[in-house]
Structure formats: C-alpha cells, structure tokens
C-alpha cells in the first residue's frame, strides 16, 4: 500500500487504470465545453463542423451573436464583477479582523463564538439566501405597508446578493487568514518593538507582510466564489441579474455555443487568477 510495502503487478496496473479513468472523468466535461466554443454549428453537439471564433466575435449580422456583442451577457458579467468586488472587499476585511480576534486575543466565550463563526459553512446556500430574503425583504415590505417608507436597499438586488454571499465567504476567508496568522511567531512583533517600532508600526511592517500571501489567497478565493455562486445569489437577485443567473436562464431556453464561449472565458479567467496567486505565494 505504501512504497516500501511490496505490491503485485496486477494491483499496480489496476490502480493506474483507475487513476487515468478518474482524471478523464474530471477533465471530460470541461474539455468538451471548451472545444464546442469553437464549433462552427448552431448547437454544441457533434458532428464537428469546423473551427470558428463566431461565438466570441460575431456581431449579429449573420444571425449569430458572439459573446462580445451580446449586451445581456456583458451586462451580467459586469454585474457579477461589481458584486464580486464588494464581496471580496468585505470578506477579506472581516477575515483579517476575525483572524486577529480568534488567534491573538483571549476572551471569555471565544470557543462559542468560534463555533458561530463556522456556522455558515454548515447551512445550505439556498437557506442562507432565503433567510436573508425573508428578513430584509420582509422588513422592507413591512415598512412600506405600515409607514409607507420605501427601503429599496433591502429589496432583492445587488445589496442583498452581496450580503448573502458575504455570509459564508467571510467564514472561508477568516479560516484562510487565521491559518496563516497561527503560524506567525508573536515574538517577531516583540522583536520589532524591541528595535524601536511602535505597536502600530510593528503591525504594518512585520505582521501584515507575513499575512499578505494569505490575504491575496483569500481575496482570489472570495472573488471566484462570489463570481461562481448560484444557490444563494438566485434567491436574492433583482432585475440586475449576475452572470450565473443569466446563464442559467439562457440554458433553460436552450443551449447555444455562446454559453460554451462564456464558460471557457470563465475557466480561463479563474485559472489565470489562481496561477497569479500561486505564483505570488511561491515566490
């Protein structure tokens, strides 16, 4: 089972076959999605009709509208980007504060609060969305019905989507940053004080640079999670639909290679972001 324990040849080859099958299973759906973004046919299915970039660049004059001329999808992409930006900002800021709170401060009830912090991870995403909808949208409805005050902020829309996503993404970014802070030797801060730094300067010159890789990692993760989230988002979205919801609506109408084109773009985008962060942290 391990390298030093002898294995039979049959076992080895079966194991290898299993590994290959596994990685084919992993790669196949993404591979076909990517490939059909370039098929010169109106449906993403065989037979292969030749290579085209129409699904990205066609301007609609020949009955095909490519992604970069599809206003609906482009708007949705922009909405998603805005949401992801705010979610990233809030989640990472919360993550930093929470990490310091749980790793560096001693106070009563810390264990209990830590469990509360983990709670959003064990609540299904749909429920997170629904509960926020019920609370805030319900509050807006009640205010409107009783006093005639319109609180559009809490109607389904971008604000609620950001709030819903922050609920669980903040937990993840807290875990990422806290894990890094746990490996920080508090003596380094004392050393900085000892060499003449004030506590604030010590934090910015010693602790923060140490946390930086995890902050970038948490930011990339938060951005991707927000961009890709569907379950929470779909419950809270208003008229300005983010990309995943827009894609879902399109998909129900029927699939076209434009969807493949968007999917490939998303994959490349995420891959680049992931590589960027990994490149930074390995340096």
């Amino acid at each position: 089972m391990i390298r030093s324990v002898p294995r039979s040849r049959l076992f080895d080859s079966l194991y290898l076959a299993y590994l290959v099958a596994f990685f084919v299973y992993l790669a196949l759906p993404l591979l076909v999605t990517a490939v059909f973004a370039f098929n010169d046919a109106p449906f993403p299915s065989l037979p292969w009709k030749g290579f085209t970039l129409d699904w990205y660049f066609a301007d609609g004059s020949e009955g095909r509208t490519g992604l970069f001329h599809d206003d609906g999808l482009l708007t949705a992409l922009w909405v998603s980007a805005k949401i992801a930006f705010w979610v990233t900002l809030v989640s990472v800021a919360l993550g930093c504060v929470n990490a310091v709170l749980f790793e560096r401060v001693q106070f009563r009830g810390k264990e209990f609060l830590y469990l509360l912090m983990l709670l959003p991870l064990v609540i299904p995403g749909v429920i997170l969305g629904v509960s926020i909808l019920v609370f805030y949208s319900g509050m807006a409805n009640d205010l409107s019905a009783t006093w005639g005050i319109e609180l559009d902020l809490f109607r389904p829309g971008m604000t609620l989507v950001v709030m819903g996503q922050v609920t669980f993404i903040a937990t993840l970014s807290t875990l990422v940053i806290a894990a890094r802070l746990r490996k920080f030797d508090p003596q380094l801060e004392e050393a900085a004080l000892n060499l003449g730094a004030t506590p604030l300067v010590a934090w910015f010159t010693v602790t923060l640079p140490w946390l930086l890789p995890s902050i970038f990692g948490a930011a990339a993760m938060a951005f991707l999670m927000s961009f890709e989230n569907f379950n929470t988002t779909v419950m809270l979205t208003g008229s300005d639909t983010p990309l995943t919801v827009a894609l879902f609506n399109r998909l129900r109408e029927g699939s076209t290679p434009v969807l493949n084109a968007v999917a490939l773009l998303l994959m490349v985008g995420s891959a680049l972001l992931a590589l960027l962060v990994m490149g930074r942290s390995s340096r």
Binding site: D185, Q187, L188, E190, A191, A192, L193, N194, L195, G196, A197, T198, V201, T205, V206, P209, W210, L212
Partner: protein, 362 residues
Amino acid sequence: MDSDLFCEGLVRRFGNNAAVDHVSLDVPAGTFFSILGPSGCGKTTLLRLLAGFDKPDQGDIHIRGQRMNDVPPNRRPVNMVFQHLALFPTMTVGDNIGYGLKRRKMPLAERRKRTARVLEQVGLPDLEHRNPQELSGGQRQRVALARCLVLEPTLLLLDEPLGALDLKLREQMKVELKHLQKQFGTTFVYITHDQSEAMVMSDQVAVMRDGRFDQVAPPEDLYREPATPFVAGFVGDNNRLSGELVSVRDDLAEIRLDDGVLVQGRVASDNLRTGHRAELYIRPESLVLSGEALSAGFSSMQAKVRTTLFDGANSRVEAENCGQPVYARLPQDGSAPRLSADSSIRLAWNPALARVFGADSP
C-alpha cells in the same frame, strides 16, 4: 553612577506565585553578565521585565541611572536577541538589520553604510540581500546579534540564543560571543540554563532559583566557593556526602558519615550545629585514589566500585558509599590503577576543597 543596569527589589507575580521575587542586581558598564538557572526559575520573566514586555509589580529598573518602569519597550535603550532569534522572515538580512535604524528615521545611505559595517564586524560581509531562511544556524545567530548591535544599545539582552544550535557550533559561538562583547564593549545580560555557557563567557554570573538570586559572583568564585548547596550542586559536577556534624574548629567542620567515618571540610554556611545533619560537597576532580599512605590533613573514605566511565579527559569512576553514588576523576596519565567492579577503593581529599553546609540550608 557607572552601572548600566541597576534593579532593586523587583517582584513579578502571576497569581500567588512570584516568578521574580525581590531580585536586585547591579551590572557595571561593559560587563558580560549571565543569569543562570534551571527552566522555570523566572529568568525569562526577569528578562522580559528588563526589555519592557512586562511590568514589575514592585521594584525599580534603572538603566544608566534612568528609571525605566514606565518606558515602553520601543523607547528603551535595550535590545534583545530572542531565543528563536525572531528574524523577520519577510525581509532580507539587510532590511532586518536596518529595521531599527529605519525606525530612528536614519537616511537610507547612512543605514546602508552602518548595516554593511556591522555585518563586517560580525564576520558576514556582503550578505545584505540574502533571506534569513537561506542562512545557516550560526549565520542567523550573528545576524540577530548584528541587528541589535547596530543600534548601539546600552544593554543587550540575550535569551538563550545558543539553545537551537548543535553542540559543536555552540562551543564555537560561545567563544565568539565573548569576543564580540569585548570588541563592541556593550553590556550583555545573558540568560541560560547551561552552566558551561555562563561559565565560559561571563564576567559575572547570577545563579537564579525560584525567582531569587542564590549567588552573584565571577564564574571561578561560583565554582570554588558556592554560597548555597543549590549552587554547589547546580554549577559543575559535585558529590554530596551527608552525615552528622561532630565539631567545628576554626574554619573546618568535621562530620561523621553514615558508615561512622570522620571526614572534614570547610565551613560554608552559618547554620551548622553540632549533632545536626550536615552535607559535605566535594568535586570529582578533588578526590584522589589513595593507597594506605595519606597526605597530611587529608580526609578519606572507603567506597565500592560500581563501574568506570571512560570519557577521555573526563573519565570517572562511579563508586558507592553508604548507598550514595560518588564520582571521582580518573586521570588518564597512567597514574590510576585498573579498577574492577565491586572492588573497594579509598578516596581522599584536601578538606580545604570540600564545603560543608547545614542540612537545612536554603
């Protein structure tokens, strides 16, 4: 006042337990001062009080005559080499050393110059651009030292910085630290649990136990004239023989060991009372294997050989007297007889080299 560090009646309590219990010390400028004690004796707490990471419950800390109690750590003329060095992993060696200078708002060019100079002084020229992680243990040690020395502190605190090194490197660094201290002329306060480190490097050693200083003295005095049984047992190897005090004459105390033999040693405490229990400490190298002929004035006792421990110049024989182990040095110049297990030997010593304490000494 020409003392760099002067403390009086320092107390630091954690709950009911006093980690530092009325400690006073006076360290003259340019001294290598060590605080030696077993782990948990309060030496790290004392060091943290001096650095300002902790506040004393009672007592005062003066550095060059200035009261430091309410001065925050970043404003004290004190720098510290941490136990695990605490080099900043996110900075290069040069930035580590320049860190303190930068906090003093020193211009970049001057900072570079001083960094290069101090690196030269600690024997690591041109290493500014390396990362601390890429250095060897000994090199990191020197960078940590340079990071403090470049600030020209009044007082340098060292918290067992050699603990993480392997034995050979540690021997080397001991000597080197002593030289660096002389070269820079900075006052060092060094804490350690390793008596050899304290003995080799220090001008003065304070032996600390349970939050108090048992004795403060130069290493030689500590070794030859331990003030308490604890110091006698903690600093260097020592044999302890217990018996009943028979008489005290002039400077010599006579005690009767449990097998009835009368032996002598110098009086070392003032709580010796005839008829009470007393303890005699004699170092292994002071014990000689003797035949029937005994030098005048020497004391002697019989012991049964258990085994011999060959260790080059440190070779010893382990013997037994009244159930208590006794060690004696075996000279390797051919003068020692071959000893077989269970044979009986006679161990003799000059009473001037033995020290006798009352059994209830602190």
